[in-house]
């Protein structure tokens, strides 16, 4: 069985991806799905900006605008940024630690399919009577009030999707702790692996509160419970706490891996080891810890009282210290280095000032009495977009260029990449810089329209023009990706020439088992060490060539996820909800609703039982096969052109 470039039929290819448990293929699935939702959410943002192009515009209606803003926020955070980061975690982390796969390949696939079907479920709302419209935070009083099924889609879709994220998070914790190659101690782990570990740990602690909150909302909305219904003794503030105990760490769940990606990119293009590695690790853990302690800074105006506000204000500001440490470490990595300005490095260089600008406004908002003015104004819109776009999106774009050679054995076009960067980067600052001032000039966020002569007209127009530029940038990036499909395969290791960590020691295209022999790690930046010692193999091995154990593919993860998807429709059309009883939302007969829930969950549980009872021990790739595959690969690499040996 040759793993290389063997032409498969289209059906077989699709089946392969539906059943795959290979972390590299799951990474591609995450990348594709994440890009799709990134595009959808970006389009929603553009619609909103066009609505705000000038005062009293009537491009979209008020109700539609609220749907757009809710879906934009929800999709970008849960269904675009998270999966895109998972894509790079899946593609790179096992390679960086010298592993052949993640700890639980089956769960890895399950995590993806749950995320994907949850996301699809959420987006079906547009076609089934209206999307959620209470903001991505879905504050309880408004979300209970909201007619139709929008909020139900939000609750159920995120519940399914969140389960997938939680599963993947646990998988990465176990993978990183248990599957490191011999010699890869914790303090030799690359920073991206470190940040993935801390971020996965945050997922482990942050998603359960969300799950609980969503569940309470679910029974409130669908079965008439009163957890948040204040007229019946419920409390809406509890939702805010539950949401933000999840919601604040969520931004660190996203931004820490982004920091990790930059900590990989910068040393490579500065040809210098990461400055202050141990303080970077310490800062990562500290940021992760503090991220949990500050959720109430989203609630300064809720009326928690002076003492709570004071404590959370000071606690929030302290996050600036470890973050500042990181920024200086990156700069000092550049200092004294030999900097090559490639596209990934451009994104890293653009990231530093943008992120600092976003970070300092965070400190301003942490000042509680000042936040009374800034909260829920356009100032905060500017702030978090500076952090999220300036931090996470630039990391994702930079990482895409950086890791494309490893993931696809192709390179993205450099010139087009530079053009994309500048258009996107200028558009980004044009869009969001002026929004700080809009907020200070009294413009609340989440407004679908505004009256003229309040002094906001010009800045809003400029902001919209910037947003359009960002849109053009994204289109160029997608174009670049499409062009790369047609380009020549690279067939080499260390595409950038200055790779330092283990993933660069591997020759592309990678065999499905990654490492034919488990490597031995002799220090921080193992590939750099081997290169310096003139090792042509790129690594030394910890074991002789032997049989390789690999997991079997399985369709069960997809079937399990489809089960939850079906059950969600049963819950959605529950006839016992307040909205259904009031006649403002469609419902089905009790039998059908319960039937769907039972059948759906039955499929899921049935698959679990099948999985438990049927021993699936995987298979072994024997030494002879490994040698044959390596020979095939060598021939393919030598032949160069696409499909070389066929």
């Amino acid at each position: 069985m040759s793993s290389v470039a063997q032409k498969k039929g289209f059906g077989a290819q699709v089946w392969d991806y539906l059943t795959t448990v290979d972390h590299k293929k799951i990474a591609i699935l995450y990348l594709a799905a994440g890009t799709l939702f990134f595009a959808i959410a970006g389009l929603e943002a553009l619609f909103m900006r066009f609505q705000l192009l000038f005062p009293e515009n009537t491009f979209v209606s008020a109700g539609m605008f609220n749907q757009l803003l809710t879906m934009h926020g929800t999709t970008m955070l849960f269904l675009a940024a998270t999966p895109l980061l998972f894509a790079f975690m899946n593609a790179i982390v096992p390679l960086q630690i010298g592993a052949r796969d993640v700890a639980f390949p089956f769960l890895n696939a399950l995590g993806f399919w749950l995320f994907f079907l949850g996301a699809v479920f959420l987006h079906l709302s547009f076609f089934l009577g209206g999307a959620p419209d209470a903001g991505w935070t879905s504050y309880a009083s408004l979300s209970l009030y909201s007619p139709g099924h929008g909020i139900d889609f939000y609750v159920l879709g995120l519940q399914i999707s969140g389960a997938g994220t939680l599963i993947s998070g646990i998988n990465f914790i176990v993978t990183i702790i248990t599957m490191r190659a011999p010699g890869m101690t914790f303090m030799r782990m690359p920073l991206f692996t470190w940040t993935s570990l801390v971020s996965s740990t945050l997922i482990l602690f942050a998603f359960p509160p969300l799950t609980v909150g969503l569940f309470l909302m679910l029974v409130d909305r669908m079965f008439g419970a009163n957890f948040f219904e204040h007229t019946m003794g419920g409390n809406t503030i509890i939702w805010e706490h539950l949401f933000w105990i999840f919601g604040h760490p969520e931004v660190y769940i996203l931004v820490l891996p982004a920091f990790g990606l930059f900590s990989e990119i910068i040393p490579v293009f500065a040809r210098k080891r990461l400055f202050g590695y141990s303080s970077m690790v310490f800062a990562t853990i500290l940021i992760g810890f503090l991220g949990f302690m500050v959720w109430a800074h989203h609630m300064f105006t809720t009326g928690l009282g002076a003492t709570a506000n004071a404590i959370f204000a000071v606690a929030t500001m302290t996050i600036a210290v470890p973050t500042g440490m990181k920024v200086f470490n990156w700069i000092l990595t550049i200092w004294g280095g030999s900097i090559k300005v490639t596209v990934p490095m451009l994104y890293a260089l653009g990231f530093i000032p943008s992120f600092v600008a976003g970070g300092v406004t965070g400190v301003m908002q942490a000042a509680a009495p000042l936040d009374y003015q800034l909260h829920d104004s356009y100032f905060i819109v500017a702030h978090f977009h500076y952090v999220i776009v300036g931090g996470i999106v630039t990391a994702l774009f930079g990482a895409a260029h950086f890791y494309w050679p490893i993931m696809f054995n192709r390179a993205l076009n450099e010139k087009l990449g530079v053009l994309t960067f500048w258009i996107f980067f200028i558009g980004f600052h044009l869009t969001f810089f002026l929004q700080h001032f809009l907020g200070l000039m009294g413009m609340p966020r989440r407004v679908f329209t505004y009256m003229p002569d309040q002094g906001w007209d010009l800045f809003n127009m400029i902001s919209t023009i910037g947003a359009a530029m960002m849109g053009v940038g994204v289109i160029l990036l997608v174009l670049n990706v499409l062009l790369s499909i047609k380009s020549e395969p690279l067939n080499r290791r260390d595409y950038w020439g200055d790779g330092r960590s283990l993933e660069w020691a591997l020759e592309t295209p990678l065999p499905f088992y990654n490492f034919k022999q488990t490597p031995l790690v002799r220090g921080y930046d193992p590939y750099w060490i081997e290169k310096q010692e003139g090792n042509k193999e790129g690594m030394v091995y910890a074991e002789p060539l032997g049989d390789i154990h690999m997991p079997n593919n399985s369709i069960l993860p997809l079937i399990m996820s489809i089960g939850t998807f079906i059950a969600a429709f049963g819950a959605l059309y529950s006839p016992w909800g307040k909205q259904a009883l009031a006649g403002t939302a469609e419902s089905v007969s009790p039998a059908l609703s319960v039937g769907l829930i039972v059948v759906g969950l039955g499929i899921t549980v049935g698959s679990m039982i099948t999985r438990s009872l049927k021993d699936d021990l995987g298979y072994h790739v024997h030494v002879a096969e490994v040698e044959a595959i390596e020979k095939d690969l060598a021939q393919f690499r030598a032949a160069g052109k696409k499909g070389g040996n066929n």
Partner: protein, 355 residues
């Protein structure tokens, strides 16, 4: 020379920024041109943090640009292998300690203001006659309008808050349906109106609103509350104390004022038949009205909080409130012809306590 040049640059940048900040936005709306002690203190915090944070950003950017310019591969040579520096404890200590010092500088005024703004003890103070000494306004936020009750004066109004200048005005805030947030940007920071509990805070107005371009301060709802969230504006009229007392007296004089169904005026008669069930036209009362109290309708700055204050707009609003404020609770509660709506609008314009 070099040093002086840099200082000059920094100074001019800050000067430009201060001017820019100070001239930004409309006086009746912008947080950068506050007309009250709370807003001023918040602006001072904004300036303090902005200056510190701008300096930080500039310093970081300068080091960063310097590093970038000095160590480009094209400058240092293609094949140079830089020294693989591990780190520096001295440097790490420096960039840990300096931010901590900066944060302490920010924290002190932050903590002082946090406690100061939350101090509403004076709400309960009474004089020798047992009357409350401080002016309190009970604010109830509704879909999509605001009700203002003055419990000590026994009067109630809507959509347009009237307050005296140069004294602390205390607010009890609550929402009747979903959560909203009460914000008068030009006067001071916001506070949420929860559905579960009362929130309390105070603001000070040190300038009468009369001299403003619009004649009123603009108030906003800052928390997403449904389709017409963007349109849930209110206006604030700040009067000096004698004018305020006169306004209160005029409001009290409307006690028992009502519209007669037998009136020869078509507007008043229709109003009595179709509108009076929800809209009071006497300013004496308590909060909890089905619709906004219309006693001061003729004195207002806007119709429904945002439309031009004209008879035409009022009539148009009565004809189709859903068109102007989607999701409002007035739609479909009455049935009037266009002619009647016009008459009601004309009648409403006569409702005034200030003339």
């Amino acid at each position: 020379m070099m040093k002086g040049l840099k200082k000059w640059r920094l100074f001019s940048l800050l000067a430009v920024m201060t001017v820019f900040l100070a001239a930004c936005g409309e006086e009746h709306l912008s947080t950068l041109r506050p007309s009250g002690a709370v807003g001023k203190e918040q602006l001072n915090l904004l300036l303090l943090t902005t200056i510190i944070m701008t300096v930080v950003t500039i310093i970081v950017s300068v080091i960063y640009l310097l590093a970038f310019v000095k160590f480009r591969r094209s400058r240092v040579g293609e094949n140079v292998i830089p020294k693989q520096v591990e780190g520096s404890h001295t440097l790490e200590v420096i960039w840990t300690v300096i931010p901590i010092i900066l944060l302490i500088i920010i924290s002190v005024p932050v903590l002082i203001s946090t406690y100061k703004f939350a101090d509403v003890a004076a709400m309960e103070e009474v004089d020798e006659n047992g009357e409350k000494t401080a002016l309190t306004v009970n604010v109830t936020a509704k879909l999509y309008w605001w009700e203002f009750e003055y419990p000590n004066q026994g009067i109630v109004t809507a959509q347009e808050l009237v307050v005296p200048t140069d004294e602390k005005v205390y607010f009890n805030l609550i929402a009747a349906d979903v959560k909203h947030s009460f914000w008068i940007p030009a006067v001071g920071g916001k506070m949420d109106t929860n559905v579960d509990n009362l929130n309390k805070f105070y603001l000070e107005f040190d300038k009468t609103s009369e001299g403003l371009k619009e004649g009123v301060f603009f108030g906003k709802c800052a928390e997403l509350c449904g389709p017409s969230h963007a349109l849930m504006d209110f206006k604030v009229k700040a009067l000096d104390r004698p004018a305020f007392d006169a306004w209160v007296a005029a409001m009290k004089a409307t006690e028992g004022q009502t519209a007669s169904a037998d009136s020869t005026d078509l507007g008043e008669a229709t109003f009595a038949n179709s509108c009076l069930g929800c809209h009071a036209i006497s300013g004496v009362g308590v909060s909890g009205g089905m619709g906004p109290n219309l006693t001061t309708f003729g004195d207002r700055n806007r119709v429904a909080g945002f439309l031009e204050h004209t008879t035409e707009k009022t009539a148009a609003w009565i004809n189709d409130p859903e068109y102007y404020k989607p999701g409002n609770l007035m739609t479909g509660k009455y049935n009037v012809s266009e002619e009647e709506a016009q008459a009601i609008a004309e009648y409403l314009m006569t409702l005034s306590v200030e003339k």
